[in-house]
Symmetry: C2
Subunit: 409 residues, 2 copies
């Protein structure tokens, strides 16, 4: 008789379930499909040659660092370089406060393991990054969803929650060009949020993978920088970013900047997870950036992705029926479409796939799973012509769809 594994699963893992959406999206690898579903950078822009050369160079220059076991904290020269960048962004932090993680996803898991007790409240944007919800579900927090608008998180709503006496272990926020909505937290709200953190000793996890990918205006000031300015040191904010959107995701190299008092515990947590992040990937990321690759490459990303965003916005404007709204992101990789009330975007996805276009239904991004009429569209992956064709297909599906009891738009 076989072991009945479903009886052997720990309580924390029981609520995990295979996502129906994920299964649907597996269909989107068909060749004729135009998918706005994945959160993927454009592969044709990958600096492949530079990374290949950096791997070679890493093995020649530093075989001891690139191929052997390494420190849990990360490759020291890479940590120093990143701490320098953070300094340029206004953070008063040292390399000792800079940890290399296996992508930002690992940082989320580390922080969940370190800071969430079962049943403890954590405050999140609604909607928020799905991967954070997945990372933290096993730690069984009580989610406190906070509303957003086109200026980002409604900080007043957080203030009310805190005033009521709720004490979240932390607030999680994607501060710029949020995944999934594309919305950015406005400057005055950033200031208010950091003041609020000080008033209530509230830790903030600031996830900022897209901050450098702005297509208008200037780089937003991270909450971590404002925290340093207001309090003289990094006090409340744990800042996450990654090479995944700036170089390539396949390296799985991200970083976390944390207040001094958290570093030792974070290192202990990471040691249990994977000992350290891939050495070769770290040294290669270091060498390409030391040689100035980001300075050359990020402007290219801004130009190409900015153009794709414009193409998608224009195509939506040209083809979508009245009653459908969408965000106008100033950067990043995503925009967010809101269908009329009562429409179910998951149902729409089934039809869209048969018309060879795909997106991610918004429901799973809501901590309470209570909003069904939104969808996330990625604009960084597909070239302009495919964006036009795909949005046209999607508009056709939207026009022909109506929930039961309603007329089509």
């Amino acid at each position: 008789m076989s072991i009945n594994w479903s009886e052997r699963i720990a309580q924390r893992a029981r609520e995990m379930s295979s996502s129906a959406i994920r299964d649907l999206l597996k269909l989107t690898v068909q060749p004729e499909m135009i998918s706005f579903g994945g959160g993927l950078p454009a592969p044709e822009l990958f600096p492949s040659e530079e990374i290949g050369a950096a791997c070679e160079q890493a093995i020649v220059e530093a075989p001891g660092s690139a191929l052997q076991y390494g420190p849990t904290e990360g490759h020291a020269p890479l940590r120093e370089m990143i701490a320098g960048w953070m300094h340029d962004l206004g953070m008063r932090v040292s390399p000792a406060q800079t940890l290399i993680t296996s992508g930002s996803q690992q940082a989320l898991d580390m922080l969940g393991k370190l800071l969430i007790d079962p049943g403890a409240p954590i405050a999140v944007e609604s909607p928020t990054y799905l991967g954070a919800l997945q990372a933290w579900q096993p730690y069984r927090p009580e989610l406190v969803p906070l509303p957003m608008d086109d200026q980002g998180l409604q900080v007043e709503a957080l203030a009310e929650v805190l005033a009521r006496g709720v004490r979240p272990r932390f607030l999680y926020i994607v501060s710029s060009f949020q995944n999934p909505t594309g919305v950015t937290l406005a400057p005055e709200r950033r200031q208010a949020l950091v003041e609020l953190a000080g008033r209530y000793d509230l830790p903030i996890i600031e996830d900022d993978p897209y901050g450098e990918l702005y297509y208008e205006g200037t780089r937003a000031t991270p909450l971590a920088a404002l925290d340093c300015q207001l309090y003289g040191e990094l006090r409340h904010v744990i800042y996450l970013s990654t090479f995944s959107k700036l170089l390539t995701p396949g390296l799985r190299v991200g970083w976390m900047i944390a207040p001094t008092g958290l570093i030792d515990k974070l290192v202990q947590v990471k040691q249990g997870l994977d000992l350290h992040t891939g050495s070769l990937a770290q040294v290669a990321a270091y060498l390409t950036c030391r040689d100035g690759l980001l300075t050359r490459h990020v402007p290219v990303l801004r130009e190409v992705y900015g153009q794709r965003r414009d193409v998608m916005l224009a195509a939506l404007h040209a083809t979508m029926p009245a009653g459908v709204r969408w965000t106008h992101p100033a950067g990043g990789m995503f925009l967010w479409v809101t269908l009329p009330d009562g429409w179910d975007s998951a149902e729409l996805l089934g039809r869209a796939i048969s018309h060879q276009v795909a997106f991610v239904p918004g429901r799973t991004f809501y901590p309470a799973g209570d909003v069904i009429n939104t969808m996330r569209l990625n604009f960084s992956f597909s070239p302009p012509e495919l964006i036009k064709t795909g949005i046209s297909r999607l508009a056709e599906v939207v026009r022909s769809y109506a929930p039961s009891g309603q007329l089509p738009l």
Copy 2:
């Protein structure tokens, strides 16, 4: 006022503490130090050129796979290749049962998260791999330590525990050339263990990073293979291995073979941890092995490490006073020294470091932390001349040491 982070730490993370041993071992990077402390492969044997070439080739041949986000399960051709190796070892398993992990350390964390409820018993060898204890501590199991001898785990002791009605969530065992002792589970005990697993529906986590590194005799048959033979399919055993000891640790690529009923949950767990293991590292590992690197390289490791083991055994025999005993591993990277009763190897380490030789005191490998007179010596890292010098220094320290109230040996 700063946040008092120690008050914000989740219960599961509170018992983690910085290891005094780890701090001591940081001293061992001094240039004149001979360290038998790290569990490191010999860097001068790393197939650096082949790995560098494979990275280049990966980026040319498969940039979409090597640099982009990839499937959580791992790079499909790599999974197929590994499933083929496992088949050659006697396991009847498919690529679908083969998951790529970020080193075996991540597999340990995944299994802890999936299978350990707080307070649930898990059975481990005593002593056992320290990294497993660290990975599982946050999940707060009740450890059930099982005695070992020079034939490996005393399976009879496990049988008694099971007969008493204790139902461990799993048994964890390093079946060949165990870390830390170097001891290998004897064939008849392997058979008995797999029969016991069937009788009690006991899951077994078989950690086998060293199995291919045998210096006498033949490759031991994994418990996973015996499980398949006895029950017609992989039923009780979750098998872990890694490229860390066969190619290089810096890639952070390992694998896990699991019964079919566990795969979906394991994939969900891993998705929350890091989305997937580094793509470039996976493709590079695949390409080097497809081109036959392991077939050429592993015999070199066996020859060099086997010689180093012999040199260390001879040096111990030549220099250590009577009353000190050690294991005679048939493979792997470690041997295990037992000092007279009452001797404290942690105290000895302080003196050893001042004599420029280092090792890991055995106490931390014991689940109950109740044995203080052992030490782990690594023989794979240091060249023969350094092994001789280091053991001679260590013997001198041992000869001059005596715990309070005892005469030196």
